[in-house]
């Protein structure tokens, strides 16, 4: 992934993407996450999925440095299985939360493993989480890569850079 991060250059925005359609997809992804709809959320991902929440900066090397989350499709599945047990105590009871996805920009194209071109989208977010521990505000920058698979929009890549990822953060067990 780092390779992709650092060397691949951003291609021009691929055709056939309606900005509103993209926004609606991001809003749906956010709603599924807010509502802890694990099945619906997991179904959004492609097989070559990458879900990344770096720590200590935006552009660390995820292979040689620790991240908060660095899940491939397999680990996403494991994460979902764990929380579905109802005994993933960091989310049992689950967080109440709502997030706002804002400043959505279509950034360009990225060549994907299957040789196609994914659409790269940037957005900012603020998520307001409520647990017995207290209320917590989360915020940062999200980079998405999306792709059409059999006519459906799928999520191939989601990188969430928390504004304060250089500091200690509380447990982050909801779907960010």
């Amino acid at each position: 992934m780092t390779a992709v991060e650092t060397t691949d250059e951003l291609l021009s925005i691929p055709e056939d993407w309606d900005p509103r359609e993209v926004e609606q997809f991001l809003y749906r992804e956010a709603r599924l996450a807010d509502e802890n709809d694990y099945d619906g959320w997991e179904a959004l991902w492609t097989d070559d999925a990458l879900y990344w929440v770096p720590a200590g900066g935006a552009d660390i090397d995820p292979i040689n440095q620790v991240s908060v989350i660095y899940d491939n499709r397999n680990r996403i599945a494991t994460r979902m299985k764990q929380v579905r047990t109802g005994k993933r105590y960091a989310q049992a009871p689950p967080s109440n939360l709502r997030r706002i996805i804002g400043n959505v920009e279509l950034l360009g194209g990225r060549t994907n493993p299957s040789g196609g071109t994914d659409l790269e989208v940037g957005a900012n977010f603020l998520a307001f989480e409520s647990r017995q521990r207290g209320n917590e505000l989360w915020g940062g920058r999200t980079t998405y890569r999306i792709r059409r698979v059999d006519g459906e929009i799928k999520l191939a890549y989601k990188k969430v850079v928390l504004v304060d990822n250089d500091k200690a953060i509380p447990t982050l067990a909801f779907l960010v």
């Binding site: 040689n64 620790v66 991240s67 960091a90 447990t171």
Partner: protein, 419 residues
């Protein structure tokens, strides 16, 4: 500038019994203030690892208790712990989280310090009668020592040496180092920082609590079919050992010896990591197989270093009801086949989103809320007391699920707090 030491008002005999400890130990501010003075600012505390400052003049910001500390390596390679405060008027000297520099400059009036803390210069020096007139360096942690690259600091000018402090726990670090064909551990993968709204002792006690994994981590053990759960069951032959000095371990070797399968401890087989196995045989000869069968230690080193097989934790207090967990992946020199996987596994397990540690941390925070409750006033630590034994080395041991480690923690804690 810690609060005045509350010498009166704390009767530790009344609060710490052999089989239970009082809830106020986790909620009373005056006890926390005393812990800062008697433990965090006295005994040896883990701060970081030499591999974080590999080159001369490298530095990295660290925390020791409530202190903002800069760990530096000077030009001659010696490691120092500087308090990040200017000797002139107290400004913060170093901003960056890490870097390489032989000196630091305070932005307020431009005083400069060597990375040993020594005052280098001050602008307009006539205001002090010229150059080199001031004996004002940055504060330093008076005693700094390391073991296998693990750097510890003590604010006490004298006292037990680090090796004396580590005692039998040093052997556990040796076990970890032994897993490197080059005999070298590195903590070079960065640190996750996990804010935890709980008293630090709840973490220290939990680290070698073999009673909780089946319950707290059942969700992940179940879905991954992990064999770890079984190591912490009634039928496990693993041992909980009080290593003295407040240190304790869950010794899983009895279980791994039963299987006698090299690399089982890491969930793999020699076939899958041939270069590593070859290098280990090369390095350790006949002893290599034993090492690869027995695997890595699971040891809590008082008060704040926890080595959990392939992960290392650094626990630091913030307030009576809050602390920080720093965690990273072990990197073994000469074990390329293992290192990336250790990072990947650690990311999955530890830190704010870890599939293990997020649940432990939920327990810590639930406990903190619980200990603020009026009754029962006590936390129980009697588990396994009646079946405790002494091993051949003279250490008190319990079964895999016994609270032997906690009892060791508390007796040492009490001795320090009463000192």
């Amino acid at each position: 500038m810690t609060a005045v030491l509350p010498s009166a008002g704390i009767d530790l005999d009344a609060l710490i019994h052999r089989d239970k400890v009082h809830g106020s130990l986790y909620t009373d501010r005056s006890i926390f203030a005393r812990e800062l003075a008697k433990i965090w600012y006295t005994t040896w505390v883990f701060v970081g690892h030499e591999s974080e400052v590999p080159e001369p003049n490298d530095y990295v910001r660290k925390r020791l208790g409530l202190q903002d500390v800069v760990m530096t390596r000077d030009k001659d390679g010696e490691v120092h712990l500087l308090l990040n405060r200017c000797a002139h008027r107290g400004n913060q000297v170093c901003d960056d989280v890490k870097g390489n520099s032989s000196s630091f400059r305070c932005p307020y009036h431009g005083w400069t310090y060597r990375n040993t803390g020594e005052l280098l210069g001050y602008p307009y020096n006539q205001g002090y009668g010229g150059k080199n007139k001031l004996e004002l360096g940055m504060g330093t942690v008076p005693r700094v020592a390391s073991y296998a690259g693990f750097v510890f600091g003590s604010f006490a000018d004298q006292g037990p040496s680090l090796v004396e402090h580590l005692g039998a726990a040093a052997g556990e670090i040796d076990r970890l180092v032994g897993l490197s064909p080059e005999g070298k551990v590195e903590l070079s993968a960065g640190w996750l920082q996990h804010k935890t709204r709980a008293n630090w002792k709840l973490l220290a006690e939990n680290e070698t609590d073999g009673y909780h994994p089946q319950f707290v981590h059942g969700s992940i053990f179940g879905v991954t079919g992990s064999p770890i759960g079984a190591l912490y069951s009634d039928s496990s032959t693993a041992v909980t050992r009080n290593l003295g000095g407040g240190h304790s371990e869950n010794d899983l070797r009895p279980e791994f010896r039963k299987f006698a399968e090299p690399m089982r401890w890491f969930g793999t087989t020699p076939e899958r990591v041939p270069d590593y196995v070859a290098a280990m045989n090369e390095a350790h000869g006949a002893d290599a197989e034993r090492l690869m069968i027995e695997g890595a230690p699971h040891v809590m080193i008082f008060p704040n270093l926890f080595i959990a097989e392939i992960q290392v934790f650094n626990i630091q207090p913030v307030a009576v009801g809050e602390c920080l967990q720093y965690s990273t992946a072990v990197q073994l020199a000469g074990a390329a086949e293992l290192n990336k996987r250790m990072i990947s596994q650690s990311i999955g397990s530890v830190g704010p989103a870890g599939m293990l540690l997020a649940d432990d941390t939920e327990m810590y925070e639930r406990n903190q809320r619980g200990v603020e409750t009026l009754t029962p006033e006590w936390l129980d630590v009697r588990r396994g007391l009646h079946r405790e034994q002494t091993d051949e080395a003279g250490f008190t041991i319990g079964t895999a699920t016994d609270e032997t480690g906690m009892r060791g923690f508390w007796s040492h804690y009490k001795s320090l707090m009463e000192a």
